[in-house]
């Protein structure tokens, strides 16, 4: 998430006079090298390994791994989950950010803390909550069984767990943005006679669109990549309740390295794509 000093501040610091002495340039070089080495060891090496292993037996084997019906089912399940979770969390995130940025109410700080909760809680616990609530021995377990509704070890459970883990992303992206932008434009629209809906779609939404898109992309990446919480509620039923990350694990444990890394490479591509879109958005926002 966007943090640390702003680009403008960094540029300003860089442009201050007296910064280009010999010692400072040595130190600068040392730090850049250190960061790059660190990145190489932790990021680039695994990235290359993923693609190298996936393609180790050639392109044919690589593409064949996607013909497996279980793999196709896993991809489909992941897409369905994301298709439900991301829009829901977008609506929730906008609503929560709107409430927090524009109004004063009791319990506001508690709401902010609660929104951050999924980030603080271990994903495994997040999954376990739903097992405890809706599992066979859970609070609603018996009732659900009587009515023949399955939540845990089925699609609803996966969606709930994913939703829980990913709901902070949109809201957290929008709250500081909306707070910083203030209310003046909305107030101007209202005095000009616009109603709430028109103000939202013609004034607020265009104002926050880039931040919103950024939040949605992050939310989507996390929703597709979530392992811990989903692992607890899914039950690992092949072809039925395994999402892509879970499927990677199953294939790996069966020593199907090409298959495992082929699916992993899809997730990696998603991550790379997310980063590219994120950079594009940041570039757009600046101009």
């Amino acid at each position: 998430m966007a943090g640390g000093p702003s680009r403008a501040l960094l540029d300003e610091i860089a442009s201050r006079p007296g910064r280009d002495t010999f010692v400072s340039s040595v130190i600068k070089g040392a730090f850049i090298t250190l960061s790059l080495l660190f990145l190489a060891a932790l990021l680039f090496a695994p990235l290359i390994t993923v693609f190298a292993t996936a393609l180790s037996k050639g392109f044919e084997m690589y593409f064949n791994s996607f013909a497996d019906p279980d793999t196709i089912a896993a991809i489909r399940l992941t897409l369905i989950t994301a298709a439900i979770v991301v829009p829901t969390n977008t609506v929730f995130g906008v609503a929560a950010a709107w409430a927090i940025a524009k109004f004063e109410f009791k319990g506001k700080s508690i709401l902010i803390t609660l929104i951050d909760l999924p980030i603080a809680v271990s994903p495994v616990i997040s999954g376990l909550i739903y097992v405890l609530l809706f599992g066979m021995q859970g609070w609603f377990g018996l009732w659900l069984q009587e009515h023949d509704i399955s939540i845990v070890f089925a699609l609803p459970g996966i969606i709930l767990a994913t939703m829980f883990v990913t709901f902070p992303y949109v809201a957290r992206e929008l709250i500081p943005l909306m707070q910083q932008m203030g209310n003046d434009e909305e107030e101007a629209a209202i005095t000009l006679g616009a109603g709430g809906i028109m103000t939202f779609f013609h004034v607020t939404l265009p104002k926050i669109r880039w931040g919103l898109l950024y939040g949605v992309i992050l939310c989507n990446a996390r929703a597709m990549g979530e392992f811990g919480a989903v692992s607890v509620v899914s039950g690992h039923i092949r072809g039925l309740t395994t999402t892509m990350p879970l499927h990677v694990e199953i294939l790996y444990q069966e020593y199907n390295f090409v298959g495992a890394f082929a699916v992993a490479s899809l997730l990696t591509l998603l991550a790379v794509l997310t980063l590219i879109i994120k950079s594009l958005i940041e570039w757009r926002q600046k101009t």
Binding site: D184, E185, T191, L192, G193, K207
Partner: protein, 593 residues
């Protein structure tokens, strides 16, 4: 009337940010709300626009009550300090926004857009984005946008705040022109008095949530009624003076000036005199002065500002002790007068730093405010000094821009009289013989007595009561003067005796209404009224015990009242602040305007 505000009050976390504001703005009038930041002027403007609700009072636009109508339906045009243009829309789309909301046809919209762009001198800028415009241009677009739907009223919230001086002036002229051309009722909020003078048909000065004074710029400048307006509108020297039947006296120096307002009453009393820097003349000696002599001084500071020369002159005799020094302001602890001189005056009598000069004054304005200065009285010096540094008192004095003197009076509350009369408001701490002390102080020259408990926070509510009709006017004048500097609610408590017959009730009600309208008309004081039954002193005491942080302003015209009718107030040392206003019957006109 185009805009009518009636007792508009807005509270924020309990304390009023807009306090009982009533004003009428006429058709096509350019009204400027002027005040320092935090005076509530922007909140008031937002209340007129409907963006902020009010807790009390009524707002009407062109006779239509809009108090409970949403901002959307009020049809006003509002311009913000930071423009608030829709940043993703072009200039043209920004201007047409209000028209699109109203589903106007595209051709009509275009025609209106062209007309508005011509009005604000931005022809051909239709397709620019706000970020491609300078600050001044953006604000022009904002004005055009606010006028698009032909609002009845144009509201501007510090529209020039973010612009530099040159552009500010240019835009100021544009807005004045647009306003004249459309003859649209306009309210502008600013903290810049120069801006207010340049634009306003009428100025309303706000401070601490209250609308202190309204008037034409030149009248407000020449004849302010309050210290705040006197010093906020341009520079002013405030001096304490004695007003006598013969005229004004600074210390021992009488100033025989003809330009004085009518002097009321015969009783000599302390007043606050306003001397504008440009009304003071310098000359090498007293005999060279062409105007009334007021003292001698030494030039301490000279600043050249182009057209004018600003000087600070230390008074060495004459009016020296008349200088008002707000407490805690060490730099101003010596009597300094601000003087400005034109180039012409500089050439006729050039001065240098440290030069001795004679000072004369062309025009003195005496403030009609009754509370001139505070004199803390106690039997011991230490007690007097402790009371003089009371937070509420020092706050009050610094807001009123007046001084706190201390006096040790061993004779306080004993039989003997003071050697020299006490001037202004006497201040004492409550004790067992408070009633006696008050009486003694009032007999020895004090016009008012303030009883101030040591642990007292600034009051939230001020109760006003007078013993009889003779005390009404002076009490209202004192209450108005005090409440301009305290952000508290004013409540007049009318009290009828227990068992008052039904025939008396309408009379009681009428007294309340009369009091309210008099307070508003004569003193610009908005107050609420309550009618109670029972013994006056007990009823007041009960109300004051109800909640902490209250204050009572009590008007009497007979010293015996303190012991006869209000003894119950003093049965124990009062834990609330108490201001006793005393004008002996027959001379109550002394402090009127």
């Amino acid at each position: 009337m185009s805009i009518t505000l009636d007792q508009v009050t807005k509270r924020y976390q309990g304390s009023p940010v807009v306090n009982d504001v009533s004003v009428d703005v006429g058709e096509g009038e350019f009204f400027v709300l002027l005040g320092p930041s935090g005076s509530g002027k922007s909140t008031l403007l937002r209340a007129i626009a409907g963006l902020t609700g009010v807790d009390h009072g009524r707002i009407a636009l062109h006779g239509r009550d809009v108090t409970h109508i949403s901002a959307r339906q009020r049809g006003v045009g509002l311009v913000f300090q930071n423009y608030a243009l829709f940043r993703h829309m072009t200039v043209g789309d920004n201007i047409e926004f209000a028209l699109r909301v109203r589903r106007m046809k595209a051709a009509d919209r275009l025609a209106r857009r062209k007309e508005l762009l011509r009005l604000v001198a931005l022809e051909g800028m239709d397709d620019r984005l706000p970020t491609q415009l300078s600050g001044g241009q953006q604000q022009r677009v904002a004005v055009a946008r606010a006028l698009a739907h032909k609002p009845q009223v144009l509201l501007l919230d510090e529209p020039f705040g973010a612009l530099d001086a040159k552009i500010r002036e240019e835009l100021r002229r544009t807005i004045r022109q647009v306003q004249r051309e459309l003859n649209i009722t306009t309210v502008l909020v600013t903290h810049d008095q120069e801006e207010a003078f340049a634009l306003a048909d009428r100025i309303g000065v706000m401070n601490l949530g209250r609308l202190l004074e309204c008037g034409k710029p030149d009248e407000l400048y020449a004849r302010p009624a309050t210290r705040f307006v006197a010093t906020f509108l341009g520079a002013a020297n405030l001096l304490l003076a004695r007003q006598t039947a013969q005229g004004i006296r600074f210390g021992a120096t009488p100033v025989n000036i003809r330009a004085l307002e009518k002097i009321d009453g015969t009783r000599e009393h302390e007043v606050v005199a306003v001397l504008r820097p440009e009304e003071i003349e310098l000359a090498p000696t007293r005999d060279n002065l062409r105007v009334n002599y007021m003292g001698l001084g030494v030039v301490e500071e000279m600043v050249f500002t182009g057209a004018l020369e600003r000087l600070r002159v230390r008074l060495t005799n004459g009016a020296a002790e008349a200088q008002i020094t707000p407490p805690g302001d060490a730099a101003a602890s010596t009597a300094m007068l601000e003087v400005t001189r034109t180039q012409h005056e500089q050439r006729t009598f050039p001065v240098t730093l440290g030069q001795s000069v004679a000072l004369g004054v062309r025009r003195i304005h005496v403030l009609p405010t009754p509370l001139s200065s505070y004199t803390v009285c106690a039997t011991q010096k230490a007690a007097a000094e402790r009371l003089a540094s009371h937070p509420f008192l020092t706050e009050l004095a610094s807001r009123m821009k007046t001084r706190i003197a201390t006096r040790t009076e061993p004779a306080l509350a004993e039989g003997t009289d003071a050697e020299t009369p006490i001037s202004g408001v006497a201040v004492v701490t409550p004790g067992v013989d408070t009633a006696k002390q008050i009486e003694w102080l009032l007999r020895n020259g004090a016009a008012e007595v303030l009883v101030l408990p040591e642990q007292l926070l600034p009051p939230q509510r001020v109760l006003i009561h007078w013993a009889n009709d003779a005390a009404r006017r002076p009490t209202l004048a004192v209450a108005a003067s005090l409440l301009r500097h305290v952000s508290a609610e004013a409540v007049y408590v009318g009290i009828l005796p227990e068992g008052a017959s039904d025939t008396q009730r309408p009379v009681g009600m009428r007294t309340l209404l009369d009091a309210r309208s008099e307070a508003q008309a004569m003193h610009g004081l908005e107050m609420r009224t309550e009618l109670r039954f029972g013994s006056a002193a007990e009823e007041l005491r009960r109300q004051l015990n109800d909640a902490p942080d209250q204050m009572l302003i009590l008007g009497i015209s007979d010293l015996a009242d303190l012991h006869q009718n209000f003894a119950a107030l003093f049965s124990t040392p009062p834990p609330f602040a108490l201001m006793v206003v005393y004008r002996p019957a027959g001379s109550s006109g002394a402090n009127e305007r």
